[in-house]
Amino acid sequence: MSDTFFSAAPHWTWFIIPYFFIGGLAGGAYFLAAVLEWFGQPEDRPVIRTGYRVAAVGAISSGLLLTIDLGRPLRFWHMLFQSEHFPAIMFKSWSPISFGAWAILLFGLFSVLSALGAMSEEGRLQNAALRAVGGVVRGGLAKLVAGVGGLLGFFVAGYTGILLTVTNRPVWADSPWLGALFVASGASTGAATLILLAPRRGATERSLNWLSSFDSKALAVELLVLILFLGSLGSVNRVWVSFWGLLLLVGVVGAGILVPLGLHMKPASFGSLAARPVANAAKLVLLGGFLLRLATMLASEGIERYRVAAGM
């Protein structure tokens, strides 16, 4: 039996699962927008602007979800500053929850700056001060902000998996692949979100084709990493002989990865889903991304340590 079965569950559930999903999606969407900012064409601007706005809303929501989940929400700033020696910085490079708090803060800052730039580009900013900030970002700083924010975006998508790995809990601490899996899922759900939202902002067919093609590749990477993750769990895989295992197999692998891949490659084989294959695939990818977090979190949270320890 893995020694991880003697630890206690931290009760990270109904605020943290949506946070992991939204944080991953926001990070992935910003990363794709940043790639297009640097290497895309002028016709990709609607996708870029959508990516920045999704990231800004996602980053702010993530911060709120994290704060609400704390036992003492008004002390959220203790993760950023030393409460007894304010304003000394609180930072532990070896603690994912510590560097993650800073990453969320910085990612939020960069994504809001980029979103202001995008809104300025669309002429949607009424406030003079915000218009000025948006104008600066939209000008010479756009690529610099996008470059740093893009890296932070992938960091935010992946550190949540690393955070789980740097514990002593079953499943999470029994494999080093969870961070990589969340990075891949963040990329696929980020692309899926852009596929669904960017057309409303005037995204071109070519931009959407690129996103769709990238989503297929991200799903293939996700499937590969998921196999490596499960392979590395060894005997701990018995926790999947449960409802969460069924959810992982049917909801994540089936509905969230294989069916969307099929819709991208051979849409005609999928009956009614083939009517709008790219959009339907994107919806299923989002569902799969959420269920991935749900299954990995609750499969470990649900283990009753004393029953397992006693072999019951």
């Binding site: 020694d3 003697f6 206690a8 590749k217 004393y306």
Partner: protein, 264 residues
């Protein structure tokens, strides 16, 4: 600077009286669970269940009866191990968890914000939330009593000296003599967590056991949570690099197709 202090718990002389649990709750003013209305667990004489934010001592009852009239009781008063290399202290993002002048590990309740990272990091399942304070809590090894020269409440209350308090050096010597005495009587006794070169650099609350650690609900080889940090960060970075490359390859292909279309 005082010497490192801790507990040596000799499980062979624990009688399951739970005086340690009561003394701990009393001294530390820990609240009752469910307003004091308690359902019996049905699990031997153990109605505490586990260590958590309001139970900092827990007497475990292990019944080993394979046939009628053949068997034994194992009893063990469990508590925070005050690890020399503490996983909870390592991951705490607020600096609420500190190592004291007595080499013990204490959660400062006025600094903790209840993020619960320490709960998942502890390999022994010791820490949990205190619903009253909204913070993570566990045994402090009676830091307030130690500061005025008193021994911890649980050790003071233990009627059989199953829980012994003292300097780690002195306790290790005493524990080793007890192991030899028991072995001389044919009992397969050994020390869990007493080796400074063992897992987590040794435990400042260590045990004398007579069965495998897992029988007592203890991990065989407890580890620090950061053991996976480097490999996990490397795989995540590699995954991000592959995805970034795939995004760029897709853009390049689109550009090549455009050029091909224009030339064609």
């Amino acid at each position: 600077m005082p010497e490192p202090m801790g507990f040596f718990t000799d499980t062979t002389i624990c009688i399951g009286c739970k005086a340690c649990e009561v003394a701990c709750k009393n001294w530390n003013q820990l609240p009752a669970e469910n307003g004091g209305v308690k359902e019996l667990s049905g699990n031997s004489y153990d109605n505490t269940g586990r260590l958590d934010g309001i139970h900092w001592r827990h007497v475990k009852f292990i019944e080993q009866f394979e046939a009628p009239y053949q068997g034994r009781w194992l009893m063990m008063s469990d508590v925070c191990k005050h690890c020399v290399q503490a996983g909870c202290l390592e991951v705490c993002p607020t600096g609420a968890i500190i190592r004291t002048e007595f080499d013990t590990v204490v959660i400062q309740s006025d600094v903790c914000n209840g993020c619960r990272a320490c709960i998942a990091a502890c390999p022994f399942g010791v820490i949990d939330m205190n619903p009253v304070s909204g913070t993570a809590q566990k045994c402090t090894l009676c830091h307030d009593r130690l500061q005025v020269g008193l021994e911890p409440a649980c050790a003071k209350a233990c009627p059989t000296d199953s829980i012994q308090f003292g300097t780690i050096t002195e306790l290790r010597g005493r524990a080793q003599k007890r192991v030899e005495q028991l072995k001389g009587q044919g009992v397969n006794a050994y020390l869990y967590g007493a080796d400074p070169n063992g897992p987590l650099g040794g435990l400042n609350s260590f045990y004398l056991l007579v069965d495998k650690p897992e029988v007592y609900g203890l991990p065989q080889k407890p580890q620090l949570p950061t053991r996976n940090l480097k490999s996990s960060a490397s795989f995540s970075t590699a995954s991000a690099a592959v995805l970034g490359l795939l995004a760029l390859v897709g853009l390049r292909k689109r550009r090549m197709d455009d050029m091909g279309g224009r030339n064609g």
